[in-house]
């Protein structure tokens, strides 16, 4: 959560004002919606007839007054209502964070459901019928996909794959166990525990099993919403979350299976067998569809270098198409979406510009956030809407059975799983996994989809489902945070991935693969290595454009880190000193070994006292910090051709200048022969430069900008701007600051130049707008608004 910088006194008043506004808005929106829903029944034809009549009339009777102000709500009703709901949801989200301490105690999902209840209550209180908002179509086709895509696109692949076996067992076997346990026992209770005349005893076994399968699936939306806030360690997070995603296949199959069986009324063994087969078809088919679309998206992104603006659109569209295509064949849409996002991500990210990357990230987070908020509010409204049929026995038995089934399932499965795992799951882990099995809106929507004719007890089911959802979200959701604290469960490590860790992770991978080869058995690492090599050799060449297809992972990581450092630099206000986690005066100088043997040139060292050096440095620094206005040339279609648009480039250049000066200065101090431009001249020229940058038309000359992590004092710091050695000094003076390719003969310590093509691409990616602090390490985590 961003901290408020408003002063404390006025912030209180502002908050109060805002809350009042929200409440007023809430009331008015509710009344509008209520009014609108009653209007639903007025025949639109009559209205349009009337409209035509007045038009006609006004043509004939010029005496009639021309309507200056007219009210026509019907035309905009639907978009208006939708916008109103979304606005309500967003304002609610804002409002929660303004109320102090509330969001610490109660998870957002609970608050949102309460808001939904309120809204529903108000609508009902005014005597209108509550609109059936959690329509299954709306839910499954509009509200759910963004959340799943967000989860799939930012899925942390490494921990997911490492724990895939465990996740699959929990998802498949766990859900099956839950479904049959709950369904079976519920049937038993209904038959035995109640009188034969009561409504419960009329519920058949299949119906109970169907109910069991609906209620047993752990819901990804609820899990995300709650686990988001407790920052639990990666392993547990990925286990519960992965389970909630993958159990969709099981749920889909069971649902359709039992629904069909209930309709027909008889079960044969063949049908059962077909059910098992259909599970594999649904799951693997969904994944296949997803992978297909993912590859298509990656391939498309290869060619988008000239139309960067629509890059994010491809990602979204292909993913949505994957979801819908899977739904056509009754395959698991969720798995398709996850597979699509996970597959396309590494290739797409290598191809698209930085701006597009940020866009995709923020759009996904925005949509998924709004979706989630809406889902919870609608849950509240739908609860009020009913129709309900409260049956004490059924509901309480359901809740108890769900809990019991979950606990037994987790404990039993962990016992089996631990035999195969190296890093065993402790009791604490098991508790969290069991406790984190939240049910959510998917269960409700599935229940809503049931037809009344086949299922006369639909209302009982719905009531029970809602109760279970409320119980898990409220009770478990609210108490999981204190429990996590109490049990001292390991939290997520906040530390960012350092380059040392990256180097050693890769090193370890190769080492372990090598040891496995020496040992002679084809283990985990062997196959992973094989996959990586296949990926590098064939797939990357196909799907990634240009030079980046050959870039090894370590280098990619390094560049990413450099980018991040640069962005940090911009945001710290342009300070020259790189902000680092630990203030440290260590620089490259300290690391470089003492210059052993300098190449040919003898360096006579004229001694300049250290204080003088410092003074000179300070002067140069302060002068270079004067900012200048840039010419903004905004063109909607050519975002990329405008590298000077942001302060980032500004800072790069400043930094480069400074490094250049420093370097020159260092060499002045050690090399007797001064180059043509002295620092003072250079300074004069820079300081007096009021001119705008002009974009060099020949883009292939655009150089690469490399930001060195070293502090300014380093003699090794890197930059390319080598204005001094250029032949065409005159031209330069007129055009002011310009970026030119580095000149060839340079001192030994600089990094080598890379291809021009690579330069261009790098620049395209480096210099585009980084947006607000883009934390690429927090990919798996949604940003709290």
């Amino acid at each position: 959560m961003p901290s408020r910088t408003v002063s404390h006194g006025s912030s209180g008043r502002l908050r109060g004002l805002f809350l009042v506004m929200v409440l007023v808005f809430l009331e008015s929106s509710v009344f509008t919606l209520a009014f609108a829903s009653s209007d639903q029944h007025s025949p639109t034809t009559a209205h349009s007839d009337g409209h035509k009549a007045t038009d006609h009339g006004s043509h004939n009777n010029t005496g009639k007054a021309f309507p200056v102000l007219d009210l026509n709500y019907e035309n905009v009703r639907v978009p208006f209502e939708i916008s109103l709901w979304v606005l309500l949801a967003s304002l609610m989200k804002l409002g929660f964070h303004l109320v102090p301490h509330l969001s610490n105690i109660v998870p957002e999902s609970c608050l949102l459901i309460v808001v939904g209840l309120l809204v529903g209550g108000i609508i009902r209180g005014t005597g209108e019928t509550v609109p059936p908002v959690l329509d299954s179509k709306l839910f499954f086709y509009i509200l759910l996909p963004p959340i799943i895509l967000d989860a799939g696109y930012f899925l942390p692949i490494r921990p997911f794959m490492e724990n895939l076996g465990t996740i699959l067992i929990f998802a498949v076997v766990g859900t099956l166990w839950n479904a049959f346990f709950v369904g079976g026992l519920l049937y038993g209770v209904c038959q035995i525990g109640t009188e034969s005349s009561s409504i419960l005893s009329r519920i058949g076994l299949l119906q109970c099993l169907l109910f069991g399968s609906i209620i047993s699936a752990v819901d990804p939306v609820a899990v995300l919403a709650v686990f988001e806030e407790i920052h639990i360690n990666e392993l547990l997070h990925i286990l519960v979350f992965g389970e909630s995603l993958l159990n969709d296949a099981v749920t889909v199959v069971l649902y359709h299976l039992f629904e069909e069986f209930s309709g027909i009324g008889t079960v044969t063994l063949v049908k059962g067998f077909l059910g098992v087969i259909s599970f594999f078809v649904v799951a693997l088919g969904g994944v296949l569809v997803g992978v297909l679309y993912g590859i298509l998206a990656a391939f498309t992104s290869r060619f988008t270098s000239h139309t960067r603006v629509i890059e994010p659109l491809f990602v979204f569209l292909y993913s949505y198409m994957a979801y819908l295509s899977a739904e056509i064949f009754h395959l698991s849409g969720i798995m398709a979406l996850i597979a699509c996002g996970a597959v396309m991500r590494p290739y797409v990210e290598a191809n698209i510009s930085h701006k597009s990357h940020t866009t995709i990230k923020y759009f996904l987070k925005m949509w998924s956030s709004v979706s989630e908020t809406l889902i919870f509010i609608f849950l509240g409204v739908a609860t009020v809407a009913g129709p309900h049929d409260w049956n004490w026995t059924f509901v309480t038995v359901t809740v108890i059975l769900c809990l019991v089934a979950r606990v037994i399932g987790v404990v039993g499965l962990t016992f089996i799983i631990n035999k195969f795992r190296i890093v065993k799951l402790t009791t604490k882990d098991q508790f969290i996994i069991a406790y984190g099995g939240l049910r959510g809106a998917i269960a409700f929507s599935l229940g809503f989809l049931l037809e009344k004719d086949h299922f006369p007890e639909r209302e009982i089911f719905l009531t029970a489902i809602i109760t279970v959802i409320f119980f898990t979200v409220f009770v478990q959701g609210m108490t999981i945070k204190p429990l996590v604290e109490l049990l001292a469960v390991k939290k997520k490590q906040e530390a960012k991935r350092s380059i040392n860790e990256e180097i050693h992770t890769q090193f370890l991978d190769h080492l372990l693969t090598g040891i496995e080869d020496i040992c002679g058995h084809y283990g985990h690492h062997h196959w992973k290595d094989k996959l990586n090599r296949f990926n590098k050799k064939y797939v990357k060449k196909c799907l990634i454009a240009g030079e980046r297809s050959k870039e090894p992972q370590l280098i990619a990581f390094y560049h990413k880190m450099e980018m991040k450092q640069a962005i940090q630099l911009v945001e710290s206000g342009g300070g020259i000193k790189l902000p680092s986690a630990m203030p440290s005066t260590v620089s490259m100088q300290n690391i470089q070994p003492r210059p052993p043997t300098k190449p040919a040139a003898e360096r006579a060292i004229p001694q300049l006292s250290k204080t003088k050096e410092e003074e000179i440095r300070k002067i140069l620094r302060t002068n270079l910090q004067r900012t200048r206005q840039r010419l903004r040339s905004y063109n909607r279609h050519t975002l990329v051709a405008d590298p000077y648009e942001d302060g980032l480039s500004d800072l790069f250049l400043k930094k480069q200048k400074m490094f250049q000066i420093e370097k020159k200065m260092n060499t002045y101090l050690t090399v007797p022969a001064p180059p043509p431009d002295s620092p003072t001249m250079c300074r004069a020229r820079l300081a007096s430069d009021p001119q705008a940058y002009s974009i060099k038309p020949a883009l292939n000359k655009v150089p690469m900008i490399q930001v060195d992590l070293a502090s300014p004092q380093s003699p090794d710091s890197v930059n390319l701007l080598d204005e001094f050695g250029q032949a065409n000094q005159q031209e330069e003076e007129e055009q002011g600051l310009m970026m030119k390719p580095p000149s060839r003969p340079r001192e030994g310590k600089k990094p080598g130049e890379e291809d021009e093509a690579k330069d261009q691409q790098k620049l395209m990616r480096c210099l585009s707008d980084p947006g607000p602090s883009a934390d690429e390490d927090e990919d798996g985590q949604k940003e709290s608004s």
Partner: protein, 220 residues
């Protein structure tokens, strides 16, 4: 081979105690050892270099050297051997045993230290107790060596940045004139704190019958 087999069986308990493997695992590893050494008593570097699967590994040289490094034998010895026997083979392999989940915190810390020591020895080729910048540069270059034409400058930049990070983390305040000698073992431990070595650095050793092991035949 019969004689050596019985001799080996006597030593099983001895070996189990030293290396921590179970009898089954030792048996399987012995079979692999025989395969690699061509039924000799000792393995030389060539034997290991002949393994075809290792060809794709960018750090194969380091791995093979590690087997012949005396420092990995838990005996406070330095230098390198030309050939190793089965016991030494086993000692090196024991570094990759997974840590027992029931172990206490101290035991886990010891195991972790042991594994980190192995890694450290792999980097510190001149055995002076610190990883200098050159050695680290070599490490990064080797890592990137299989990725096609990588400019040494980039590898160097990465190694330099990594070294800088180690120095900044461990010795935050250094005057401009101070020289950071290299990564000592303590610093090494510190920077790799984030990776849980005891749970990451292991492979699964087979307990079952060797017939189920699909060994890469040396001739394939």
């Amino acid at each position: 081979m019969g004689a050596s087999q019985t001799r080996l069986e006597h030593n099983y308990d001895d070996l189990t105690e030293k290396s921590g493997f179970s009898h089954e695992q030792i048996k399987n590893l012995y079979q692999r050892f025989q395969q690699l050494s061509g039924n000799n008593e000792k393995i030389s570097r060539d034997d290991l270099e002949r393994i075809p699967a290792l060809n794709n590994n960018p750090i194969r040289k380091q791995i093979i050297t590690a087997f012949f490094d005396k420092r990995n034998q838990h005996q406070n010895d330095v230098g390198s051997l030309d050939e190793i026997g089965f016991e030494q083979f086993l000692m090196v392999m024991s570094h990759f045993r997974p840590v027992n989940s029931k172990a206490t915190e101290e035991e886990k810390a010891t195991v972790r230290k042991q594994k980190l020591r192995f890694l450290f020895n792999m980097h510190d080729t001149d055995n002076d107790g610190i990883i200098t910048l050159d050695e680290y540069r070599t490490v990064v270059e080797e890592l990137l060596s299989q990725s096609g034409a990588i400019e040494t400058e980039v590898a160097r930049a990465i190694a330099d940045a990594a070294m800088l990070e180690v120095a900044s983390t461990n010795v935050p305040h250094m005057a401009p004139d101070d020289f950071y000698e290299g990564i000592t073992f303590e610093h090494f431990e510190q920077i790799l704190k984030g990776i849980e070595m005891e749970s990451r650095m292991h492979i699964r050793f087979l307990d079952k019958n060797a017939a189920t092991m699909r060994c890469g035949k040396l001739s394939s």
